[in-house]
């Protein structure tokens, strides 16, 4: 838990951050909006006092009400991992600038996030499906994509209300329920 890192981040990015800088165990977490991604990550990468030059992971999250993109960064200047959560992407048309201008390795990570959630990364030269077949129409990791579960009537199946299947015996894999965007 690096308190100095928290101070550095608050002084550098104070106004862009949505919410406080949180720290737990060996992770520091900041939240920004989608429009600040390019500037924030470029500053984190370039500035010698911050120096977060290694992108460890790029993940998409569907919270049910919104979508988020989470970046995990490593720097030689601090003993903490930095987690940058980009909040506020809408579930109907999630768009976020791509970070492939900084790390070419983010291209496939963004492709995977697009394939699983439908988040469009603007600036990614190769945003197509990577896991599912190219003519697949659903985005599997979204919370409104239900797994076919023939044991859904059992207490173990589909605990969360969003994921309760209502016609389990007829649900086929890939079935999307009504009321979702493209």
């Amino acid at each position: 838990m690096d308190r100095a890192l928290k101070l550095r981040l608050e002084t550098r990015f104070g106004d862009i951050l949505r919410g406080a800088v949180r720290q737990r165990h060996d992770e520091t977490e900041i939240r920004i909006g989608a429009e600040d991604v390019i500037d924030t990550l470029r500053s984190l990468y370039d500035e010698p006092g911050l120096g977060f030059t290694m992108l460890a992971d790029l993940a998409g999250v569907d919270t049910g009400t919104e979508m988020q993109v989470v970046y995990h960064l490593w720097s030689a200047t601090t003993s903490d991992w930095l987690r940058v959560i980009t909040i506020g992407l809408s579930r109907d048309d999630p768009r976020i600038p791509s970070v492939t201008f900084l790390w070419k390795g983010a291209e496939w990570m963004e492709r995977e996030t697009y394939d699983m959630f439908g988040i469009i990364f603007e600036g990614n030269r190769d945003l197509r499906r990577i896991y599912m077949p190219p003519d697949y129409t659903s985005f599997p990791l979204r919370k409104d994509f239900y797994l076919a579960d023939d044991a859904a009537r059992s207490p173990g199946g589909g605990v969360r209300h969003m994921e309760r299947t209502h016609e389990p015996a007829d649900a086929l894999p890939g079935t999307r329920r009504a009321g979702t965007g493209a």
Binding site: Y131, M132, P133, P140, F145, L147, A148, D149, D170, L172, P173, G174
Partner: protein
């Protein structure tokens, strides 16, 4: 509920063996099934009790056709190469049939079709410690045209199902299929997943199922020896076997 304690194993009045298996006087053959024959009758299950929800699935239920040879075979100019006597003498299986089956069984060349984790155990079964070279099966052919047996080792996903079926169709007869690992037998731990096929018997006929996750190499050796036995006993004849899930609905 009666208040006498339940008799332990081997102590009840109707138990066949009353002595533990490590004690003298134990009769293990008392438990053998009477009347069993060495060569079982093949069970040919036609796909009559299950139909896909989508009428166009599984090729619309039509039987598979190999159109470019159908009229050739119908015209009768082709002959069987099983070295049989023709006509009325055909019913007598010859020593040559037996020899041909022995040849096929003892040099089953698998196709390199390892998909996932079971492929590692298949490689382990092929290498020095569990050597399949002694069964004649070491050459894993890269080309399906040269392979006899397709050991599907690893999870089959919907994206891979097309290429795998194409490989199966490219293999020339006689060919056999071994489903290795839980994922190919029934879907295994990925049964609920959105992108896997629940068992390869949904798309291709299977001769031997080897369960396990992954099955030990010894398990796969046992499965292949069972396959050799099937070949020698001329069971599991390929043109008539069923394709489709063999689990009834409602289960």
């Amino acid at each position: 509920m009666s208040d006498e304690p339940m008799p332990g194993p081997g102590k009840g009045p109707a138990d066949v063996t009353t002595v533990g298996s490590d004690q003298p006087g134990n009769k293990p053959d008392a438990l053998a099934v009477r009347g069993a024959t060495a060569v079982a009758e093949p069970i040919v299950v036609r796909n009559e009790f299950w139909a896909a929800a989508n009428p166009l699935a599984y090729d619309g239920g039509r039987p598979a056709e190999i159109t470019h040879l159908a009229d050739v075979e119908a015209s009768g100019i082709a002959t069987r190469d099983d070295a049989r006597w023709s006509g009325i003498l055909e019913v007598i299986p010859t020593k040559a049939d037996y020899v041909l089956d022995l040849l096929r069984a003892n040099s089953l060349w698998p196709l390199l079709s390892g998909l996932a984790c079971c492929a590692i155990e298949m490689m382990s079964y092929a290498t020095s410690k569990n050597d399949i070279d002694r069964f004649g099966a070491f050459p894993f052919r890269a080309s399906p045209r040269q392979a006899d047996v397709l050991i599907v080792a690893g999870t089959l996903t919907t994206k891979m199902a097309g290429p795998l079926l194409r490989l199966w169709e490219q293999m020339p007869e006689p060919k056999w299929c071994v489903a290795m690992g839980d994922c190919t037998v029934s879907g295994g731990r990925y049964k609920r997943s959105y992108s896997t096929v629940e068992g390869i018997d949904r798309i291709m006929p299977v001769d031997v199922y080897v369960p396990g996750c992954p099955p030990r190499p010894e398990g796969l050796i046992y499965g292949m020896m069972k396959l050799q036995q099937l070949i020698k006993d001329r069971r599991g004849h390929w043109p008539e076997r069923a394709v489709g899930p063999t689990v009834p609905t409602g289960v």
